[in-house]
Structure formats: structure tokens, C-alpha cells
């Protein structure tokens, strides 16, 4: 390997990292799930910092509306609907440095999560849905691998480093996922790039510290805002009854989940099953007002149109995503608009 001493001279001069910390960083392997807004900023930060191996997983394609906040993508990628991992790899390769990239243009789920995270020292959250985060929490706690949750909506964000066995996990804070349709997403409530940058910067800082520095003494939940500028550290405790980190039950990872999505032959449509029973169609209609077109709701369904196609949602959480035959794409749209 070439000598990178000069390249990293400024950061190794920072005493708490030093050359030893840099060497630990270069020996690390990190799984980064999602390489959109948070994920792109995280990938850039880790590659520039000189992490050894970065496993990038993303299921989606670049779109024009990504460009204000997804720092690895350009107009060309949006015009060509380039897979996000491929576009990310092109940009990251131009940065250079010692990082080896491993790319997976796939949807991370319970069938591949353990394999994708094998030998990783850290799991980083760059996802856009809570369902995958509950899976990452199960995966990390079961395998005693640290993971760092980051979430953004509007101008605000949350960051929590989960250190299995040492501090609270995601389910100590939010024991159960919210019902489908009850959560605002970046599509329904909007999002600002600086909010993404704040959250990703704090996640990346925690990542460097966990990979290369002395252990963190305690974990806190960080709440950040980029529009009414403020950061706040909130105290949360481990829940002695936490189903995940206390009782070691990992349903999001281990329970057999029937295939969530199937292509409907010849219809340019994918059917996506909800993960959690009933869907709040009225709540979903409220959050989509002003976002989706041609909203129609009756007791049997909610139907709406967005630029990417038409989506019909049923009370049991099942949805038909029209306008694509790509299962990963349909899952991405489902999670984007139904706020899983």
C-alpha cells in the first residue's frame, strides 16, 4: 500500500487520534446502510478520514430531488437514474485514499443482514426508514457490534450511538415501531440539507471515536436543529425490560418474514406487504396532503399519485406501487411515502 503519512498529517496531529488511532481506523471495516443524504455525507467523511474498508449498501436510484442534499450525486446521475451505490463509488473513487469500497446494490433485510455485516467493527445508519433501523438494532445487539442511529426530518435530527452491553439501544427509547402511515417523512414534512449535514457530522465524529479513540464514557441522545440552531444532549437509560438488549429477542432479524414485495407480471406494478398489520389511512392522508396528487380515500383504500408513479394503500398495510417493476425501487417508494 502507498504511504499515506502526509495525506493524514493534519488529523494525526490531533493528539487524541494520533498515528495509532489512524492505524486503527485504517484497520477498520464499516457497514454503511444507505448512501443517500446521511449515507453520502457519512461515506465521504469516512473515506476522507481513511477508514480501511467501507461496505456500502443501497437499493435505490439517483433522482433530481436528491441533489440538494445527497452530496455524492450529480445531475448526470439523476438523468441516467444511476444506482446510488454506483454513483457514490464513482465520486468516492475520485477522492482517492486507502479505503477499499465493497458495493451492494440491494435492499438490506433479514435474509442478508448478517452476511453483509460480517467482520464489521461498526454499523452506520444512512437509511430512510425505521423498519431497517429496527433490523439494524437487532443485528447490532445480537452480534455486539456498535451502531449509530441518525434520523432527520425538517430542520431537526436525532443521533444515538448504541453500544451493546454498555448503554441503551433504539428499543430502550422507542420499544415498538410506529404504526404505518403515522410518521412524517422527508417527503411529507420536508428536509433541509444543513440538518442532514449536522446529523451526519455528529454520526461521523462518533464513528471515528468508536473506531479509533478511547471508549466513550456514556451515550446520550443528541437532538439537533439547523433552522432554530440548537443542540441538546438528552439522558436516556437502558430499559431493564427492553425486549431487545435485555431480553435478547430479535424478531426483526430472526422471525421468518415472508417476502415483502412481489412483481405483478406485465403490469409495471410491484405489490408491497406492510410489515406491521393495520395502516392508519386517515393519518396517512393528512400527511400526504399537499405532497401527493389525486388523493382518494374510502374505507377500502387510499390512492395517490406522486412523480414516481401511483400508489394504492390498503388498510392491512399492503400497497400496489405502479410505475416500476423493480422490487427495491418499490420498497424504497413505499418506505418514503408510508413512513415506515
Amino acid at each position: 500500500m502507498p504511504d499515506f503519512t502526509r495525506r493524514f498529517e493534519r488529523q494525526t496531529r490531533f493528539a487524541p487520534l494520533g498515528k495509532q488511532g489512524q492505524a486503527r481506523l485504517c484497520d477498520s471495516r464499516v457497514l454503511l446502510v444507505g448512501c443517500g443524504a446521511l449515507g453520502g455525507a457519512l461515506a465521504q467523511s469516512l473515506v476522507r478520514s481513511g477508514v480501511g474498508e467501507l461496505v456500502l449498501v443501497d437499493r435505490d436510484l439517483v433522482e433530481e430531488s436528491n441533489l440538494p442534499r445527497q452530496v455524492l450525486f450529480e445531475e448526470r446521475h439523476a438523468r441516467e437514474s444511476t444506482p446510488k451505490v454506483q454513483a457514490a463509488a464513482e465520486t468516492l473513487a475520485r477522492i482517492g485514499g486507502p479505503t477499499a469500497l465493497e458495493l451492494h446494490a440491494t435492499h438490506l433485510d433479514e435474509s442478508n443482514a448478517e452476511e453483509l455485516s460480517e467482520d464489521c467493527d461498526l454499523v452506520l445508519d444512512g437509511t430512510d426508514n425505521l423498519a431497517t433501523r429496527y433490523l439494524l438494532n437487532d443485528l447490532a445487539v445480537q452480534s455486539s457490534t456498535p451502531w449509530i442511529y441518525g434520523g432527520v426530518v425538517g430542520s431537526g435530527g436525532l443521533v444515538l450511538a448504541v453500544l451493546p452491553g454498555k448503554g441503551p439501544c433504539l428499543r430502550c427509547l422507542f420499544p415498538e415501531p410506529a404504526p404505518q402511515g403515522s410518521l412524517e417523512t422527508c417527503e411529507t414534512a420536508g428536509v433541509l440539507q444543513p440538518a442532514v449535514a449536522l446529523v451526519a457530522a455528529l454520526q461521523a465524529g462518533l464513528a471515528l471515536r468508536l473506531l479509533a479513540g478511547p471508549p466513550l464514557e456514556k451515550t446520550q441522545l443528541f437532538e439537533l436543529d439547523a433552522w432554530e440552531p440548537r443542540t441538546r444532549a438528552l439522558t436516556i437509560e437502558r430499559d431493564p425490560n427492553c425486549p431487545c438488549c435485555s431480553k435478547r429477542d430479535f424478531p426483526f432479524l430472526n422471525d421468518a418474514q415472508p417476502h415483502r414485495a412481489v412483481r405483478l407480471c406485465g403490469r409495471n406494478t410491484v405489490q408491497v406487504r406492510g410489515a406491521r398489520g393495520e395502516t392508519d389511512l386517515a393519518g396517512l392522508e393528512r400527511s400526504l396532503a399537499g405532497v401527493a396528487r389525486s388523493l382518494q380515500r374510502n374505507e377500502l383504500l387510499l390512492r395517490f399519485e406522486v412523480d414516481e408513479g401511483r400508489i394504492t394503500v390498503f388498510p392491512d398495510g399492503r400497497a400496489l406501487v405502479e410505475g416500476t417493476e423493480d422490487v427495491g425501487r418499490a420498497l424504497a417508494l413505499y418506505d418514503r411515502y408510508l413512513g415506515r
Binding site: V152, A189, L234
Partner: protein, 85 residues
């Protein structure tokens, strides 16, 4: 007292930090709903329980009961699980 609203619910208040009154968290939520109609229902379900994706903090410490007593100097913060990224 000062109340910090989760960023996804800013469509109701147009700002993150608002003023509201109440001797308990339950009363405070009632007052918030008077000022910003519909806001309480986004936090509390039909059975009167805090929604599973919502959490409450008083002066930076997590609290779980709506009956908890408040002082006018307290700072109340609601956190919502954030799905975006």
C-alpha cells in the same frame, strides 16, 4: 413554560420552541392543543396514551407519565422517532 416541538410537527406551530402552560404534562398538552389545534392528537392516541414513536423529556431527563407535575421554570421537550435520512 418553554416547550420544544418535534421537527416533524412544526407544520402546526411554525417554530420549534413555543410557550404553553399546565400543572402537569397532560394539562400542558391540552393547552398546546388550544393554541395549535390537532397537535395533541399527533402525540397522544385515542386511549390517552403517548404514541409509541413519541417520547417526553423534562429538563433533559426522560419522563414517562402524563401526570407528572411541572413548574413554570421547567423546559419540556417532545421527541419523535425520525425516519428520514
Amino acid at each position: 413554560m418553554k416547550v420544544r416541538i418535534p421537527s416533524p410537527l412544526v407544520s402546526y406551530t411554525h417554530k420549534r420552541e413555543v410557550d404553553a402552560e399546565g400543572r402537569t404534562l397532560g394539562e400542558l398538552l391540552g393547552d398546546l392543543d388550544q393554541r395549535y389545534p390537532g397537535l395533541r392528537f399527533r402525540m397522544i392516541d385515542e386511549q390517552g396514551a403517548l404514541r409509541p414513536h413519541m417520547r417526553m423529556f423534562v429538563n433533559g431527563e426522560q419522563v414517562r407519565e402524563l401526570s407528572i407535575q411541572l413548574r413554570s421554570s421547567d423546559e419540556v421537550q417532545f421527541i419523535q422517532a425520525l425516519s428520514g435520512g
